[in-house]
């Protein structure tokens, strides 16, 4: 099912949680609503579920306007951050509950529930109570309960945030698998960029209630349209250098302590800009223009990282193992084409 939202706005007495959103969610795909906490992503999810009424704008499921439709009529499945399993019911009863409400007969709903339990791999725990399950298992039960009524739309609110690191990786792959097996249009909320990057078909990046960018994960990384997008994605994070474009069209640090030659001239000069350089976007090589001093070199797992200093600016970059430069050395740098972005300082927009 395709979801279309049109000028959707949610205002609370003191904030605007979702500000004039217009976009589409692709049918049968897994989409992540990504953003820092307080960016309005959960508000967005709750409006899609029908728990929160919209202040303005419309939501369409295919061609139905569901904006004022109560949640139970929308045909959505919702998995809560704390799973919201009913503590007094067994796993089987929990999964059956939506069908019990729909007055499906008992034999049928148990059969369906067992099928769902098998899909999410909890079929051996049917008689247990939620508190006898691990966090990951509870999560699976919650997903089964959301899926049993064959929803048009599956919504997951921070589905992995209550799990420990190892389980999180396992569960995100499980969510991916379940989504691909069922082909249900799925939207999940997360503040973890890695989580969003690794399993979603596309990412909606939000900040302060504003839609920043919608794209495929890799495209978002490779081609951010705003300094916030560039900064939010990537670990180690992108290096942001403040400065101006000089007469030659190159980047000059704010305090004129260094100049960095740009591969691609934008045809502007004198503007205040932010130069974003991803850690992997630097090569050591003969450039004779940009010099950097190595402040520290260290190994993180299989990666070789270094803190370097260009003029007054400090950067964290990857350095190939082949270079046996050490602390205190001065090296020459070349920027790669990929992973270097120029943003307008005032608006944050990509130039």
């Amino acid at each position: 099912m395709q979801i279309k939202i049109d000028h959707l706005t949610k205002k609370f007495p003191d904030t605007t949680a979702v500000d004039d959103f217009t976009m589409e969610f692709e049918s049968g795909k897994l989409t992540a609503l990504l953003g820092p906490s307080g960016c309005g992503k959960s508000t967005m999810l709750n409006m899609l579920a029908g728990i929160l009424p919209a202040t303005d704008g419309h939501i369409y499921f295919d061609d139905d306007d569901v904006t004022d439709m109560p949640p139970q009529k929308r045909g959505v499945g919702l998995v809560f951050q704390n799973y919201a399993l009913y503590p007094h019911m067994t796993v089987l009863e929990n999964i059956c509950f939506p069908l019990e409400i729909q007055k499906v007969n008992k034999a049928e709903r148990i059969e369906k529930a067992k099928e769902m339990a098998k899909l999410v791999h909890v079929d051996q725990y049917l008689d247990r109570k939620p508190k006898e399950l691990s966090g990951g298992q509870q999560q699976r039960v919650a997903i089964a309960r959301a899926l049993i009524k064959t929803p048009r739309l599956l919504l997951l609110d921070e589905p992995l945030s209550n799990l420990d690191a190892r389980l999180r990786i396992e569960m995100r792959e499980e969510i991916r698998r379940i989504q691909q097996e069922t082909k249900v249009t799925t939207i999940f909320v997360t503040h973890d960029q890695e989580e969003a990057m690794s399993i979603s078909d596309s990412i909606v990046l939000m900040k302060d209630g504003i839609l920043m960018q919608v794209d495929k994960p890799q495209a978002l990384y490779d081609d951010p349209n705003h300094t916030f997008v560039a900064s939010f994605l990537g670990n180690p994070p992108i290096n942001n250098l403040e400065g101006i474009i000089n007469d030659a069209g190159d980047f000059e640090l704010k305090d004129h302590s260094a100049t960095i030659k740009l591969n691609e001239k934008k045809g502007i000069k004198g503007e205040e800009v932010i130069l974003g350089i991803r850690p992997e976007a630097i090569t050591i090589g003969p450039d004779f223009n940009t010099k950097a001093e190595i402040l520290e070199r260290y190994t993180m797992g299989k990666e070789e990282l270094a803190n370097i200093k260009i003029g007054s600016a400090e950067l964290r970059v990857y350095i190939s193992v082949d270079h046996d430069c050490k602390k205190g050395d001065v090296i020459d740098l070349v920027l790669r084409n990929k992973g270097v972005f120029l943003f307008d300082k005032a608006s944050g927009k990509r130039l």
Binding site: V76, L78, F80, A84, Y86, I101
Partner: protein
């Protein structure tokens, strides 16, 4: 060090045993005297044990002199009705105050909290007039009617309901459950321990209720146990051993209840305090 520890333990046990004996002595004394013969009673200093532990004559005689069987049945009827009705109104009220949203909810709730400190003793004059005008004086109904709503229990249960995560509610509503269905299928089962506590505390209060009964009940057949016992004392002369038998009969159901449900009762009192 080791020696010091034992001294401490000895004192703990010594005072605990002493204290426990004082606390339960009246119960022991009640039972002992209910089994004594007329001759046992006149001994001074009083004998610590009855001459025959299986002398139930006093019970038989007390039952012959006053209809304690009827008092007992009345007490059971009043207590059970009161508990069922109050629990029902409490569940619905607590749900409205915790889960439903409506204009003036907080104002009404604050008003209720204010009324919680009004002592019942202050209300009896008007309440007597009210039930008299309804023609209910000297009926069992009048022992139930003024106690069908409890602000105190509603307050306790509302607080428990508030501790149930919102997400359970939204989850159920998204699945199409009505408020009514959600309340009885999800909230009430989760609140079972709290409801048990409320029910038990309420049952104890009901069973022991005396002041109101004293005002509105005259007829022998409508008396409950505590009032019947008091009437037995004033009307039936002062044969102490019969009175002890009747007192035992009055107190025993609550003792049994307590022994079986101590955990719930104690937890309830610890969490909310008894009705002041």
């Amino acid at each position: 060090m080791r020696f010091h520890f034992d001294i401490k333990k000895f004192f703990v046990y010594f005072f605990l045993i002493l204290g426990a004996l004082i606390m339960i002595f009246p119960f022991y004394w009640m039972i002992v005297n209910s089994l004594k013969t007329a001759q046992d009673m006149t001994a001074y200093p009083p004998t610590w044990v009855p001459s025959n532990w299986f002398n139930f004559d006093n019970y038989i005689e007390a039952f012959n002199k006053a209809p304690f069987g009827i008092y007992f049945i009345n007490s059971v009827i009043v207590t059970i009705s009161c508990v069922i009705i109050t629990t029902f109104t409490t569940i619905l009220g607590a749900f409205a105050f915790s889960r439903l949203k409506f204009k003036g909810r907080d104002l009404i709730f604050s008003l209720m909290l204010g009324l919680m400190m009004v002592p019942f003793e202050m209300l009896v004059i008007t309440n007597y007039t009210t039930v008299a005008k309804l023609g209910l004086i000297d009926t069992l109904a009048v022992l139930i009617l003024p106690f069908t709503s409890s602000i105190f229990y509603t307050y306790i249960l509302r607080n428990f309901f508030l501790s149930i995560p919102d997400s359970l509610y939204y989850s159920a509503r998204i699945d199409g459950a009505s408020n009514w269905k959600y309340l009885w299928r999800i909230m009430v089962p989760i609140a079972k321990p709290s409801l048990m506590t409320i029910t038990l505390l309420n049952a104890i209060t009901c069973w022991n209720s005396f002041f109101w009964t004293l005002l509105v009940i005259n007829n022998d057949v409508n008396r409950t146990l505590p009032y019947g016992l008091y009437a037995f004392m004033t009307e039936g002369g002062s044969d102490t051993k019969l009175m002890m038998a009747a007192a035992t009969f009055t107190v025993l159901p609550m003792i049994i209840l307590f022994l079986f449900a101590r955990k719930y009762i104690v937890n309830g009192v610890a969490r909310g305090g008894l009705k002041g």
